[in-house]
């Protein structure tokens, strides 16, 4: 199935900002992140179609997945 992936901040480095990708039916946000070699522990916010989501959420065709790194400095 086809989804759109949006990456933010450091996740863009060496990857992309926005990309339409093929992924298996039933793929999860975690699975897509793994395919992009993004560690679970580095992921802060996950949005699916601009709504907060868990990494375990199954994606549907046409979904937009957004991944943000943890920014914690002060």
């Amino acid at each position: 199935m086809e989804i759109t992936v949006r990456l933010y901040l450091t996740f863009r480095t060496g990857r992309f900002r926005v990309e339409t990708r093929e992924c298996p039916a039933g793929a999860t946000a975690a699975g897509v992140a793994r395919d992009l070699e993004i560690r679970d522990a580095d992921i802060g916010m996950v949005l699916v179609n601009d709504r907060q989501a868990e990494l375990e959420q199954q994606l549907l065709p046409g979904d937009t997945l957004s991944l943000f790194p943890v920014v914690g400095g002060g």
């Binding site: 933010y8 901040l9 450091t10 522990a41 580095d42 992921i43 802060g44 916010m45 996950v46 949005l47 601009d50 709504r51 907060q52 990494l55 957004s66 943000f68 790194p69 943890v70 920014v71 914690g72 400095g73 002060g74």
Partner: protein, 272 residues
Amino acid sequence: MDALRALLAERADGDVVAWADHAEVMRRFGLDCPSAEEAILSAGFLPARYRRNRQTISTELQLRLHRSTVAVVGCGGLGGYVIEELARLGIGRLVAIDPDAFEEHNLNRQLLSSPAAIGQSKAQAAERRVADINPGIVVRPVEVAFSPETAADSFGGVDVVVDAADSVPIRLQLADACSQLKIPLVHGAIAGWYGQVCTVMPGDETLRHLYGRGSEPKGVEVVLGNPSFTPAVVASFEAAEVCKILLEQGCLLRNQILVIDLLHMEVDHIRF
């Protein structure tokens, strides 16, 4: 008050009161500086230091800021700039919370730091800095780290809390505490060229969204560090949010996040 008004009317430039006359109010009426500022603003006059605020903030609203209390959790990178800006804005009472002392590696970005300040308390430095730039402001330095157990005491009478912390778990605890105490929280965080800011009203789950499971205490700042300009940018957004909350004006970053990329000069405004 009639004698005060008469003095101000005699000396003011229109309705603007110069610093020398603020001092005369203190002397003649036996007031400390914050009390004199309260008296001047209550009488409908504007201390001259706020003259350049007035196109944005009326005298009446300047009095509201003077009567407000803001707690800043962290007096380091973000906190130093937040405290500076809120003091210059005219927030009447600040609670500066930080258990740490300055170290040499703070010098690249922490506004309150200097070589002479190494080894000194960050919270006390905040108190000294504000006394220097705006003695009409009262600062309560708290040299104890924020914790859920100290929240009620630290945040008693506080109108807004500013997140200038440097740890994910602390931030999540801070959000929970502010929600329970029903105090708005302005969140900010930085890492390298990047930053984020939002406002969390009691009951909002925004920081849980941002930090997921909160399993890691730190983020990409461990790898990227923090140059001088990033905390200044994010702190300024935080200060603006504080001002809007207190004045009940403008649009808040509530249920939204501003994600800032200074390397590519891009700002993403994420709305939930």
